[in-house]
Symmetry: C2
Subunit: 214 residues, 2 copies
């Protein structure tokens, strides 16, 4: 998958814990739905016996005790991670235990942490000239927006946790021109959205490569 | 979702544990990829703040010490289950601890267990007149097989774990006329396949209901 365009996902995790006090027996409760963050990592990267090296996943935590803390997972650099929630949570715990600076620092292979806001991470991508999509049930159907030609560029998807991203951040996304894109008539979990977005892009790319006319 | 057609998934879990000795700290290893079974349950049933009541999921375990043990999860009856792997594993542990008979017995609300073979569960569905699809990367693209009219019937999808279902069971599925259906150009995890199948059926049904011509 070298030299291909990137797929980036940015999750707002409103309640996710911001210290290393991760109780592996209670990811949903005392860790603020850290289980969901773990499933998003699993959905973002894992293929059968392979990893999606063309994907980057950000999770921005706004839970106690020290928000925000941002985590970045880089598919091309990940090592020794398994797709189950508990093993991903152990890597997240290690990253959360560190001291967070305004710049990214590596915790374990391919997993970075920083004191960064959700909006700043989105703006950084925007400044790099990337197209930002906001995943929203009532958006434009993804099939109407993404096609083999715009799919050749890097592409960024923003999404919320069980609470959503909130009105203020929705307004912010409108202001920076992020398009709302829908992937289902039903309201799904964030990790399921990531699986579906990957699948739609995989199928478009496949069509694109097999019919060499663009 | 009452009165709708059922969506059924049958997973062959080649190594999944067949006793209640479930180590919640080691679902992938000593429990024979029970993490994957848990993620399949999560993908089969959970919507944002809702459950898919039109879905039934079967997991047939062939791991030690006492294979086979079949589990059945009935969406319309499930209660108190959360989407995280650990909490699903706790319910599975309870079901695996019971004595398994040749008929289904309920363990907790909506979760049943029995001493049944993978093939017998498939044959039972077949005898009920249901259409059986075998999920396979090299099958016919799902969009070419499933459409608003055959989607009005109950529909059964068979799938494998990290090992697949094996040659013998593939031959069996061919013999009973199960069609091979593909959902991606890539080899995915079983739980990801379930998310994608649901999404494709959700979108078809949506189109079907919104254009009332069939
Ligand atoms: C569990 S949902 C959020 C539910 C929350 N109560 C709300 O109303 O925003 C998690 C996230 O998944 C994304 N999402 C859920 N369903 C979607 C759909 N059908 N299409 C596109 N994105 C969706 C959205 O980004 C949403 O914030
Ligand atoms: C991890 S895969 C199995 C890999 C195994 N090594 C094999 O070759 O069968 C798990 C299951 O997901 C289903 N599956 C995976 N990718 C698929 C695809 N692209 N289309 C349809 N089903 C797929 C198949 O049922 C498969 O047995």
């Amino acid at each position: 998958m070298h030299g291909e365009n990137l797929r980036e996902f940015i999750l707002k995790a409103n309640k996710a814990i911001t210290s290393g006090d991760v109780n592996l027996k209670d990811l949903p409760g005392s860790c603020g739905r850290l289980d969901l963050v773990c499933r998003c990592v699993s959905s973002a990267f894992f293929l059968s016996h392979d990893l999606r090296r063309d994907t980057v996943f950000y999770s921005v935590h706004y839970g106690n005790p020290n928000p925000p803390v941002a985590l970045k997972f880089v598919g091309s650099e990940l090592k020794r991670v398994s797709p189950d929630e508990r093993s991903i949570a152990i890597f997240i715990k290690k990253a959360l235990e560190k001291e967070h600076l305004s710049v990214w620092k590596e915790s374990t292979s391919g997993i970075y942490h920083a004191k960064k806001e959700f909006r700043d991470i989105i703006l950084e991508r925007k400044k790099e000239g990337k197209q930002i999509f906001y995943l929203h049930k009532n958006g434009v159907p993804i099939e109407d927006l993404i096609n083999p030609s715009n799919c050749k560029k890097d592409i960024v998807f923003v999404l919320g946790d069980h609470i959503g991203i909130g009105e203020e951040d929705e307004k912010f996304l409108d202001e920076i021109g992020a398009e709302r894109v829908s992937i289902s008539p039903l309201e799904l979990h964030a990790n399921q959205c990531i699986v579906i977005v990957h699948n739609i892009l995989d199928k478009i790319k496949c069509t694109y490569f097999s019919n060499s006319v663009s």
